[in-house]
């Protein structure tokens, strides 16, 4: 990519941010729930535990097009089924999306379809292993995505006239193609970092080799003119099957949060 193309790319990203910075809605959600972790580079066993999620979402929903930027942080502590061994998992994901929007039912239903670019970085750390104690996670994915937002009356007309309508938002993100980092099947990080021996460590992924799935269901209701309270559910299934290694981090988290700037 020459310099002009890089500049155009950076300008495009900047435009995305500038659109969203003028957006009507920014929400912050904190979640807690179960997380299942498998990484066959570290162990053949599945680990289960509790995890914490922070999710910030900036959304601009225009008449025809909308933009979304999401920042998501996961932290999990998990144990094996014998309660003998621990895993720590952490990840950060940046989702930048662009959607075509359709207003239906007199504006009460907004359907959006588009795509997300998902950049993820993270780690899984096994507290007991010696030469294979951790797994680094790095990926870039293009994900088809759809959002449905339904606005409806809650607790009767008087309440709605005073506080405005409630909204139920459902987002589904699916994998398409991408790139992911992975050591090879039996490759040590010593070979990678001390000896500089690389072997299929940046792997193209598809919806078959990285069958990720992410769903958010959020119920939002205004508490004041500009602040809304939200409850929701986040199912984030990050999976990878490359270099004969298998990995999944499956989060089912109950989310609480607030939105502002509606």
């Amino acid at each position: 990519m020459n310099n002009n193309k890089w500049l155009a790319f950076l300008l495009l990203i900047a435009c995305q941010f500038s659109v969203v910075s003028a957006a009507a809605q920014t929400s912050y959600q904190f979640g807690f729930g179960s997380t299942d972790i498998l990484d066959t580079y570290l162990s053949q066993e599945e680990f289960r535990g509790e995890g914490f999620t922070f999710l910030s979402l900036s959304e601009h929903c225009g008449q025809a097009w909308s933009s979304v930027i999401q920042n998501q942080v996961h932290l999990t502590s998990a144990k094996d089924r014998a309660d003998n061994e621990s895993l720590l998992e952490g990840s950060y994901n940046l989702y930048v999306g662009r959607y075509r929007a359709w207003q239906l039912s007199g504006g009460n239903l907004c359907l959006q379809a588009g795509g997300l670019a998902n950049f993820g970085v993270g780690f899984i750390y096994n507290t007991r292993n010696s030469n294979n104690p951790a797994q680094a996670r790095l990926s870039l994915q293009l994900m088809p995505s759809a959002i449905a937002t339904w606005q409806f009356r809650l607790f009767g007309t008087t309440f709605t006239q005073k506080h405005g309508k409630a909204s139920l938002r459902c987002e589904i993100d699916l994998p398409l193609v991408g790139l992911a980092f992975s050591p090879n099947y039996g490759q040590s990080y010593y070979e990678l970092f001390s000896q500089g021996n690389y072997d299929h460590n940046v792997v193209p992924t598809t919806f078959v080799s990285a069958p990720c799935f992410r769903q958010q269901l959020t119920l939002t209701h205004k508490m004041t003119r500009s602040v809304a309270f939200s409850v929701g559910f986040l199912a984030d299934y990050q999976q990878l099957r490359v270099n004969n290694l298998k990995q999944h981090v499956l989060c089912n988290h109950f989310m609480l949060g607030f939105s502002k700037g509606l």
């Binding site: 379809a113 699916l174 039996g186 040590s188 070979e191 004969n244």
Partner: protein, 334 residues
């Protein structure tokens, strides 16, 4: 456009779970899990089939009948440890809360060729200590450095100080007898002080799949000369059967250098960098995963022969002399 939308709608059908076969937490389940981990991840199954006639499928049949649902944990541990011992690998261990399963015959079946009593006689009490290195100048102006374990870290500053102190000695003895390994970077750091040009010291490869023969190409491993103080005079490395893993690699590196002589017993081996995994009942298993080879692409899993095979003798021991150190001193004095 409509066709693209249909395809996108069908994508959830492909988002199947990425999962691993889960074995029951029963004696049979743990046995199956352990056998499979070794079958798919252990890196010397093919090599040991040729070298010692190991047949891992036959091992399965042999030990499967010894496992039943009524066994207690200790009985199961004993059977699984015996099964792992078929690999004849000191890097293979089974860890439970009550015991540590191991195969240590690679040195237990041989003379130690090292005496702590004699070592203390040579070192005295006024020797110097620089991180993991104990060192002093012997009476005949020979430098003596003892490195007990590569688990003990050393810094470039430590090595500078040690070599500067021994600079006027006519030769150097590096005694790594009993060194069971540790951090490979410590071994490389020390060897680089005796290397004066980029030297091919060996090869490494890794498994690329669960098959016994699925390996990457061999990657050459070069030792780069240290940019700090280096030793140009003769060096003798002392070895015994307990020299294992990273210490075995150190001997492999040093044998490629022209001014280095290895004296003592054959090393214990251990040429596979170990990985870990776990069983349904929480026991941890360690196994060789990344094989290393010498500069001739030969495995050093079962050890490296010294240039001069020398053993401690009872007569010398009675006289308070370490036969191997004395042999090294004579070599360096010549």
């Amino acid at each position: 456009m409509r066709r693209l939308l249909y395809i996108i709608c069908l994508l959830p059908l492909f988002t199947a779970c990425v999962d691993e076969e889960e074995f029951a937490d029963t004696p049979q389940g743990n046995f199956e899990a352990l056998w499979k981990i070794i079958d798919e991840h252990y890196c010397f199954l093919d090599y040991k089939q040729q070298a010692i006639g190991l047949d891992w499928n036959a091992v399965y049949q042999k030990y499967k009948v010894r496992v039943d649902e009524y066994m207690n944990e200790m009985q199961l541990f004993e059977v699984l440890t015996q099964m792992l011992a078929e690999l004849r690998d000191g890097h293979v261990n089974l860890s439970a809360s009550h015991d540590y399963g191991r195969y240590w015959s690679w040195y237990e079946d041989f003379p130690t060729n090292f005496s702590d009593t004699l070592c203390r006689a040579y070192m005295g009490t006024d020797y110097k200590i620089a991180a993991g290195l104990d060192y002093r100048i012997l009476d005949d102006n020979i430098g003596y450095v003892r490195y007990e374990s590569f688990q003990h870290g050393i810094g470039e500053g430590n090595l500078d100080e040690v070599l500067a102190y021994l600079m006027l000695c006519q030769g150097l003895i590096i005694d790594i007898r009993g060194n069971g390994g540790g951090d490979l970077t410590n071994a490389e750091k020390l060897a680089a002080r005796f290397c004066h040009e980029k030297t091919l010291v060996g090869y490494s490869q890794h498994k690329t799949g669960p098959g016994h023969s699925e390996f990457s190409d061999m990657e050459a491993h070069y030792l780069e000369p240290s940019s700090n103080l280096r030793w140009h005079k003769p060096v003798v490395v002392l070895t015994n059967r307990q020299v294992y893993s990273a210490a075995n690699e150190f001997v492999m590196y040093m044998k490629t250098l022209p001014q280095v002589t290895v004296v003592g017993d054959r090393t214990g081996g251990g040429a596979g960098m170990p990985f870990s995994s776990s069983l349904p009942n929480g026991w941890s298993v360690r196994f060789s995963a990344v094989p290393n080879y010498d500069a001739q692409r030969q495995s050093v899993e079962f050890g490296i022969d010294p240039d001069y095979a020398v053993a401690l003798t009872d007569e010398d021991f009675q006289r308070g002399k370490d036969t191997i150190i004395e042999f090294a001193r004579k070599l360096l004095a010549e």
